[in-house]
Each structure stands twice: as C-alpha cells, then as structure tokens.
C-alpha cells in the first residue's frame, strides 16, 4: 500500500538501502537523490517515501537520528545498520538474479 504500483514490489526497499549505504541522508535528500539517480523513471511520490523509511527502521535495517542539515535546520537523518547492510546484499543479489532471468526471457522473445 505504501508503494506506487509502477515500482516492482520490494524494489523501493532495495533502492533506499542502497542510497543510504553510500551516506546517511534525511528524507528530503533521499527523495532528491532518488530522482537524480534514476531520472524520472522511478516515480516515488514524496509521501510514500516515509512509510517505506519507517518500515525499514522498524525492521532494524536503518536507524535514525536528528541532526542539523546543510541549511542549518533540524532534520531526521537515516543511516544503514549492520543488519541493513546484510539485507542490502541479500536483496541486491536476488534483484540481480531476477533481472537477469527477465532479461534472458525478453531476449528469447526477440530472437
């Protein structure tokens, strides 16, 4: 319910974990980064981002703390936990497997 329908199920988790693996960010910055790296292909509404983040937090994969942002205001910064890193590896691997398989199927059709 928290994911837009055009995003493959479970992919948002992977994207968020990957982005946070690079550096701790606040919600706003995450949304900017998402748009920046994926172009406009992956449409995540600003609102849907937060339930997704909170779910990851409840799972213990990311943890949050309040810090001062670059424009000198208080913002909630998320960073990856050890558990989150493990989860990221798992999800990345399974994504690779899935996309490889799909790619093969798609090529098969073309040939």
């Amino acid at each position: 319910m928290s994911r837009p329908s055009d995003l493959v199920q479970g992919t948002l988790d992977l994207l968020l974990l990957k982005i946070l693996a690079l550096q701790p960010l606040n919600g706003w910055a995450i949304s900017q980064r998402l748009r920046q790296v994926s172009g406009d292909v992956l449409q995540v509404s600003d609102g849907s981002l937060y339930p997704a983040l909170h779910k990851l937090e409840q799972e213990g994969w990311i943890t949050a703390e309040w810090k001062t942002s670059e424009n000198n205001r208080r913002a909630k910064y998320y960073s990856l936990t050890r558990l989150g890193r493990a989860q990221l590896e798992k999800e990345a691997a399974s994504w690779t497997r899935l996309s490889d398989a799909i790619t093969r199927v798609v090529r098969l059709e073309e040939a």
Binding site: G27, Y50, T63, K76, R82
Partner: protein
Amino acid sequence: MRIEHWFYTLPLRLRSLFRRRQVDQDLEDELQYHLEMKIEEYLAKGLTPKQSRQAALKAMDGLTQKKEECRDLRGINAIENTFRDLRFSVRLLAKSPGFTVVAVLTLALAICANAVVFGVLNGMVLRPLNVPRPESLYGIEHGNEYSMTESYPDYVDLRDRNRSFDSLAAFCPTQVGLDTGNGSARSYGDVVSGNYFDALGLQPYLGRFFHASDEHGANSVPYLVLSYSFWHDHFSDDRGVLGRVVRINKHPFTVVGVTPPDFHGILIFGSPDFYVPLVDGDEVQWGSLMGSDLLHDRGNQWVFMTLGHLKSGVTSEQAVADLNSIGVDLDKAYPKTHGKTRFRLARPGLYGDYLGGPAQAFLTGLLLLAGLILLAACANLGSLFAARTADRSREIALRLALGSSRHRILRTLFTEAFLISLAGGGLGLSASVALLRGLSTWQPVPNIPMRVPVSPDGNVYLVALLLALVSGLLFGLVPVRQVLRTDPYQIVKAGSNVIGMRRVTVRDLLLVGQVAICAVLVTSSIVAVRGLVRLLHAKLGFEPRNVMLIDADLNMAGYRGEAVLAMQKRLIEALQKVPGARTVGLIDFVPLLTTYVNVAPVFTDQAAELKPSNAAAHPAIYRISPEYFQAAGTALLLGRTLTWHDDQNAPRVAVVNQEFARRIFGSVANAIGRYYKMQDGTRVQVVGAVEDGKYAMLTEDPRPAAFVPIMQGPPTGTTLLILRLDRNRTEIASAIRNTLRGLDAGMPAQIQNWNEGLSIALFPARLATVALGVLGLLGAMLAGTGVFGMAAYSVSRRLKELGIRLALGAQRREILEAGLGRALKLLAFGSAAGIVLGMLSARVLASIVYQATPRDPLVSAGVIFAMLLLGLLATWIPAQRALSLDPVTLLREE
C-alpha cells in the same frame, strides 16, 4: 541475528509505547521539513507561495494518510487494541453487574476448592522436607508390611554394613516429662542416633549438634538439642541457654545446640521440642521400666524409623538389593527373632506408605472431585456466556452488518472471559490462602501438638492462576460457534427470537453435564455422611460413654520395678473410692486412643520351632487388670475373666477375643482351657473369651487380640486407668485429681473423657465427611444456579409466546410445562447420568471413605431426593414469574 534485531528495534517499540507524544511530534517535524523544502523548490520554480504550498501538499500524496501509515508501522496497534478491548469489556461487565457477580463468584468458589485441596496435597505430599538434598532422602520400610521399625542392634547392622547410603540415621519420637527449671511438663521430642544431624546434612542455628563420634556405649552422651520453636517459646531466644542443664524424666541433660528454624523433624505433621541421643534412650524410653536392654535386644523393634541419603549414583533398586542381602544375613544369624527380613525404600515424611499411601489416595481422590467442581463451574459459566451471547445476538449482528469482523467480536468475548477468570481466580485464590493459613494453625488432635504444614506457596498460586485461565478459555470457547454462525441479515430482520428454539443446543448439553457432575458430588457427600454414621455406630468392643481415662505417668514419677505394680494397685483402690465411680480397670494401651498396638507373634501349642514365619497369628497383646473388661464394658462370652490371683506365682493365663479363638482354635468354645505359646516358649492358657473390638483403627478388619494380667511378666510401661461412672459427671476430674495428689503429688497425669479421646480414631472419617460435604454442597449450589439460570432464561425468552398462550386460555399446568419443561427434563437427564456415574466412581470413593458404597439404596434415594429438591428450588422463581404473567401488559410492551 535475532538479538541484534531486538537491539535496534526494541528501543523504537518502547519509545512508541511510552513516549507516544514525542514520537508523533518527531513524525510531524520530519514531514513538515520535507513539506517546507518542497515548497521552497516550487517557489524557486517561480510559483506563488499559495500555489507552491498546494503543489507541495499534492506531491505528498495525502499527508494525513501517510502519517497514519507510519503510525501503523510502529506495530503497537495490537497492544492498543487489546487495551481498548479490555476497557470495552470492563464497561460491558459493569453494565450487567448481576451476571458479573454470579460468574466471578462461581469461578471463585471452584478455584478456591481446588487451591485448598491442592495446597494440602502440596504441603503434605509434594513439598520436600527442609533438609539439604531432600530428593535422595529415603526411609527404610519393611518389605511385607507398612512399617519402618527396627530393633537397635538391627539398625546398627544396617548402618554399618550397607554400601548404599551416605550415612544411616535413626530416630524414635517420645513423650517425656521435661523440666527446664520450672517443674516437669509434658513434652514431645525425638530420640535420635548420634549421626542424625550429620546424616541429614543439617547445620545448627546455635551451638553445636552431637555426632556419632560422641557415642561410647549406653548413656554416654547426656546432650540435648533444642528445636528452634521450643527455644523461641520457652527460652525467649536466650543465647545463654547453651550449657544449661535440663531434666528429662528427672535425668540431667546438657543443652548443646538449637536446630535451624525451618527444620521440624522428619515427620511432616510432627514438631519435636528437642532431640536427645538414642544411646541415652533408656532413660527417656520405657526400656528400664520394661526390664529389657533396648540397645541389645533384637526382638524389640522400638526404633521408629531408619533413614538416610542415598549415595550419589546409587539407584533405589541397588540400595534395596544391598539392604536385602543384609536382611538375609540377619535371618541366618538370628532365626529366633527374624523371619523374612526384606526392605523397601519409602519417603520418610509421612512414615512411608503407612500414612503416605492413604494420604495420597485421599488427597488425589479429593483433587479429582475438586476438578469436577471446576468442570461444573466451567459448564455453568459456559451456559451463562452462551445465554449472554444469545441475548446480544442483535448487537452482534449489528456490529457485523456495520463491518466489524467476527474475529474482532470473538476477541471481545474472550477478553470478557479472561477478565472474569482473572477476577474469579484472584478472589478464589485469596479465599483459599486465608483458608490454608487457618488450616495450618489448626490443632486436629487435642493434647498432642501437631503441625499442619499447608501454608500456601508459589506452587499453589501458580496452579490456581493456571486453572483460572484454563477455565476462562474453556467457558470462553462456548459461544464461539454462536458468533461464527450469526447471520446478521436474518437477525436484524426477524429479531433475536429466531435462533435455537427447538434443537438441542450446546447450552442444554452443558447443563446436563453440569447436573451430572453435581449429582456425582452430591452422591459422594451422602456416601461420606453414611460412612461416618456407620463408623459412629460401629461395634467398638467397649462402651466409651461415661468413662474417664486417667493416664498416670509412673515412669516420669520415678517408679521402677516392683514399685510399679504396687502403685498401680493403690491407684485402682483409691480411684474406686471417688464418688460416682462404678468400676476401675487398668490397661497399658487404650484401644483406639492411639493407633499404637503392641503386636507379638503367637504359636500353637504344638509348634516346635518358634520362628516368626511359623507364627499362628500376630495378635494385639494388652496387659490389663482383672476389672478392665467390666470397666470398659467389654462383654465376656465364655469362660472366666482374670483375677488378682493370676499373679507371678500362678500359671500364665489370657483372655482372648473371638477372632483370636477362631484363628487358633477354630471356635470360641474350643478355645477355653487350651494353650498357646509365646515366642520365648511360655505356654499361656486361655481362660476366657470376649467380644471382638476395634483396636488400632475404626476401619480395621477384625483382628485377634489377647488380654493378659499386668501381674504376670515385667511391669507395664504405661498406666491407663479406666474409670466407669454411674452417670455422666463433668465435675469428676477435680475429684480424681485430688485422689491422685493424695497418692503422689509428683506424679503427672492426664485426665480425659474416653469419648473425647476417640477423636483421633474418628479424625480421618470426620475429615473426609467435612471435605466431601463441602464439595457436595458446592456441587449442589452450582447445579442449582445452573438450572435456575436455564429456567429463568427460557422463561424470559418465551415471555411473549407464553403471554399469547395465556391470552388464548392456556392452563397454568400447560404454561409451566412450556416454560420449565425443558429445564426439568434436562435436570432429570443430568441426575440420572450423575447417579450412574456415581455408582461407577465407587472405587474413588472407597479410597476416601470407610466402607463407601454408592450402591446403597439409601444413598440413591438421598441423591434423587436432593436433586429433586434442588430442581424445585431452582425453578421456583422462574415458575412464579411464568404464572404471574399478565398477557395484556406483555403484548402491549413488545
């Protein structure tokens, strides 16, 4: 991995649970930040502030919903819902206080009954003794009888030759005159082996204990250890008591130590005041009086119990085999005194299987019946809940129609059941704790201090709580089907009256089951009362009415040898002169006053080898004065009674009872003038026969008994005078006391009425009757409320129908039949089933009550009458209500 998960998430959960406002504020701030950044972005694109704000809100995709989603993710909604359910249930229950009170009280009664019975079982049977390593502590019981007694030399052999026990201790409870400086007073203590405290693994609370190394033959250890409670009560916790000299039967003993506060001797119900060494037992026991050397006589099994800790790694089978091999050796070495010496291991607290067996059977039986009470209560509550659910079917249908899930409705019902079970359990437990506390200060037998160690502990609390919760689950389950089958459309359309009028409902089955259970309980209590009545009218072989018993302690007063008999004669003569006295007799142990019976093997006159295995019978041997039979009211059947001429110089004679005559000589007529032999070869002539009687216990089968004169053989160790009065005189005690004082002012004596003295013998039966009576009453109450609830409910459900019938001219009888027929029919079914079940449970009852047989027509009639009465009482009010219906008002109202 799991732990790490909790490491990250637990603080979050706790924060969201207990700092809810803070967490919500954080969420608010976080989203607000995002919103503001978004607005700034749109402003930068050149939109007006108003447009920017609108666009930003739109981009957030429903700010409030997202907040709610975030809240849901915190995962504490389940807890919040539970609290909401609890609040809702409390409100519902508070709205129907009648239902709530009845339900809570019903459960409380049942839980209380169970907790009390379990508490007693826990204290008497399950709880280990207060010694280190209680699980490996065993007493040595004889293989062929429920007895643990040994002679002292046999004990020493067992102790020194076994390879299975760390150390074998022995003890023997005794009753003495203890003089702590303020004159001699009756006191109860244990004579114990030197290694007693070391073998048990106890440490002194104060001073020191005596040890095996202190023993150097007879009378070598004049030391005494006080029990904590005696020290506390009689020496006011004075630490200077060590080294003080006290006197036991006028012999000096030095106090060396005090036992730990939580040690009360080996016997669970006992509470010895002191402990003295066995090797000094002659001065404390009757040994010197009886003229036998207790420390060397293998024939005198006066050591009460032998016990010890098994060595670690030794199984009980190995230990028994080890002991039996010693037994075989003893049989070979001492064929005169030993028969088949075989052993068993048993728990020492209740004197092995002698008391432990019956106690366990009795309590298990009671626990079974208490369990039935709980089941009946559950059935009762189950039908209450079902009726309540049926009444609420409209509300439930509405809630279902408005979109509530069945799951959610069931949750509310279960929450109600849970609350009721918690309240009922709590109430029942507190009542049982009060009862058990009261029980533990109870003194069941006058004159003998006893401990009833049933004060509740954690086990009792746990069991009561578990039982309450399980019952809550049971009766909470009853309405589940009802809810699952509710069809909101039908009910909202047609009103609540459509369901379950004709069919047999769960409630009907519950009621039948409950009534059946209650009938079983009523049966058992009637059986118990019958048993008690039968006991009260049992043929005792003596007539205890208008008889005073005087227990004169010649031993404590210092009489020895010849002086004993002379003093006994003077006592008889003096008491004969008390005004109102008809006859005075003397006996060494009064039948039924204690369970102690002096048993000895006897042989036929022809027997050549006087081994225990050849014995013709093991009769109870009583030493009496010639007037005993007359004083006790025992009928002489044939021959003559004893006379004062049957003394040391005359041939040995005895009067035997019918059972003795029948077993050894075939019949009473055959017995007179014939001889039997004692183990030492003495020939004894039977000169008379008396009626059979009860000797150790009221419930015993007829057993042989022989009565021999006190003048023949060594002086008796105890002197009990039987004073028959011409009528009931309560003031006689002081006259008796004066007479005794005139003879010897220093002689302690206890005076009591024989009938009162029988309270020990009647104690088990009284206890059983009270216990079963209470359970039966509880059962009857439950059945009553169950039938009442059912009848009242069925009348109230059919008020409209009954009103129409009345309006159409139905007769009173027809109205009653319509309103109550079902309830009465169910009651009849249940009672019939219960009576049959009661018949089948005869064996359980027999373990509790003497000669219990539910197949007694009087019992069956009593049960049927009781159940009828119950039905009448329970349906009276609903019947009145049905009959007083005014159809006009009723039809107008609906």
